[in-house]
């Protein structure tokens, strides 16, 4: 018999009725306060536990559970050579950006390069950074090469439209022109996520741009994925 059904047949006892008469059922305020503090502690602890259950390793980035296969794509790299994305046994940090970006892209590349430098030499060799340009119109291979020379060993990829749109969508990334002042004078708003792809070509997690300065936590994520 459920509580709802029981309600149809019974009246509250005298004890229940008298207890219900007072505010907070006659419970002293300090007992209520203790209950409140314990409840908040349980709430925050429960959230922490939930996160650990979802992904036993406490990833700093947003984990894909389960991981999904990274879509492949082809284009032209900064050396003007044909490029097809393949992990080749390496872990990849991939993001969509453009060379005229005033802040997010250069900072992202800087942090990812710093992250790479933090790794032991053996692991450093197995980590690559890939920038897919969302501005194929201006980011010709020559431009990509000049730009990326400031940021270590990243690979830049130019994918012409409309293929670029399909590739971005396949990763859940978006971009659109903004602040257009002329045919070659514009900015591009774009997704600021960095996708961490393991050596088996599975997207394991996403780092938001705002997380990149915390290199220690990024390194922990990366080394867990590389393990």
């Amino acid at each position: 018999m459920t509580e709802l059904e029981r309600a149809d047949t019974g009246q509250p006892s005298d004890a229940d009725s008298s207890a219900a008469a007072g505010p907070a059922l006659g419970r002293p305020w300090y007992v209520s306060l203790i209950f409140a503090l314990v409840a908040v502690a349980l709430l925050l602890g429960g959230v922490w536990l939930y996160a650990r259950l979802k992904t036993p390793f406490p990833f700093f980035g947003t984990a894909y559970t389960p991981p999904i296969t990274a879509p492949t794509f082809s284009g032209t790299d900064q050396n003007n050579a044909a490029y097809t994305f393949a992990p080749n046994g390496k872990t990849t940090a991939l993001f969509f950006g453009f060379t005229h970006c005033p802040n997010i892209c250069p900072l992202s590349l800087t942090y990812l390069n710093k992250l790479r430098e933090r790794l032991p030499a053996a692991e450093r060799h197995d980590f690559q950074v890939v920038l897919v340009s969302v501005d194929p119109q201006r980011d010709a291979p020559k431009q990509l090469k000049a730009y990326l020379s400031f940021f270590g060993t990243a690979t830049g990829v130019n994918i012409p439209e409309p293929e670029l749109k399909k590739v971005a969508l396949s990763y859940g990334a978006g971009y659109s022109k903004a602040d257009i002042k002329g045919p070659n004078d514009y900015q591009i708003n774009h997704t600021t996520a960095t996708y961490l792809i393991d050596q088996d070509s599975k997207i394991r997690l996403i780092w938001d741009y705002t997380q990149l300065p915390q290199l220690g936590r990024l390194q922990a994520d990366l080394q867990e994925v590389m393990r």
Binding site: G10, D16, A24, L25, T62, G172, Y209, T210
Partner: protein, 279 residues
């Protein structure tokens, strides 16, 4: 947190309502909601059979509406666009916190009596203690709306998937204290409930005012976000402020009514003549 598979074209920043509201299927959530609905409607049917009229149909309609809104808010494609529209995200959370709870609480039959001695009665008497409900509500609203908490909830592996559930839980607690669906285990003073309602509305109003009047985008994941409907991130933040403020108004209005009722009770006390003794 696991990322939802983005079935909606993320490059399309002007989704139609049909695209936004197209349903997904998360077995866990659907099972939970259907189980609650089945439990409620079976109890309703039995009650109608044994005691017709005790459980009015309008309560069942409200409860059903609450479940439908919960499904739409948690199982539509809109959940894939959290990073593209703070306003849409806040609208979803506010529906869970300020619309679903009163529908569900009003949907509970008035004759529902829980014994304080039963396990459910003991648990609910603690959870619906105004101190406990208020503390949990403040924790949910404040912790997950300061920039560090909010940023973490939408871009890190902490509580992103859990936050809608927390807003629903917090809203259910607050509205249960205000509407008092379980008189056998809840205090009954209109004044207490009125003050509680006013206090519980304060954190939302504070957050809403901050969003409305902030000249900058407060949450870094939204600073350079691609936003739906050609809105800027700052416009989204401002609209979110309006959404939160408007969502909090019914609760505060009801609290004011309860406080007025309490004041009238106070004013009347001692001035009413006792009924004449029976001849």
């Amino acid at each position: 947190m696991s990322l939802p598979v983005n079935d909606l074209n993320p490059g399309q920043l002007n989704p139609s309502w049909a695209e936004l509201l197209a349903l997904r299927f998360d077995p866990l959530i659907w099972t939970a909601i259907l189980a609650v609905g089945a439990w409620y409607f079976v109890a309703f049917a039995r009650s109608r059979r044994t005691q017709p009229g005790v459980w009015p149909i309008w309560r069942t309609v409200l409860f059903g509406l609450g479940l439908v809104v919960t499904i739409v808010v948690t199982q539509s494609q809109a959940i894939t666009l959290t990073l593209n529209s703070m306003a849409l995200y806040m609208g979803r959370l506010m529906l869970l916190a300020e619309l679903v709870p009163p529908l569900v609480v009003l949907g509970l039959p008035h004759h529902l009596k829980l014994s304080r001695r039963s396990p459910a009665g003991r648990l609910l008497s603690v959870l619906l203690d105004p101190w406990v409900a208020l503390a949990l509500w403040f924790a949910i609203i404040i912790f997950w709306n300061i920039p560090a908490g909010f940023n973490a909830s939408i871009v890190t592996n902490t509580a992103g998937a859990l936050l809608p559930a927390l807003y629903l839980l917090g809203g259910l607690l607050v509205w249960s204290v205000i509407l008092r669906p379980l008189p056998s285990i809840q205090g009954g003073s209109l004044g207490n409930r009125g003050w509680f309602g006013l206090l519980s509305g304060l954190p939302m109003m504070a957050v809403a005012a901050t969003w409305l009047y902030s000249p900058t985008v407060l949450y870094t994941p939204y600073v350079s976000a691609l936003c739906l409907w050609n809105l800027t991130s700052l416009q989204n933040q401002s609209i979110s402020g309006w959404i939160m403020m408007l969502a909090g108004l019914p609760g505060m209005a009801l609290a004011l009514v309860q406080l007025m009722g309490w004041l009238i009770e106070l004013a009347d006390s001692g001035t009413q003549q006792p009924p004449p003794p029976a001849a």
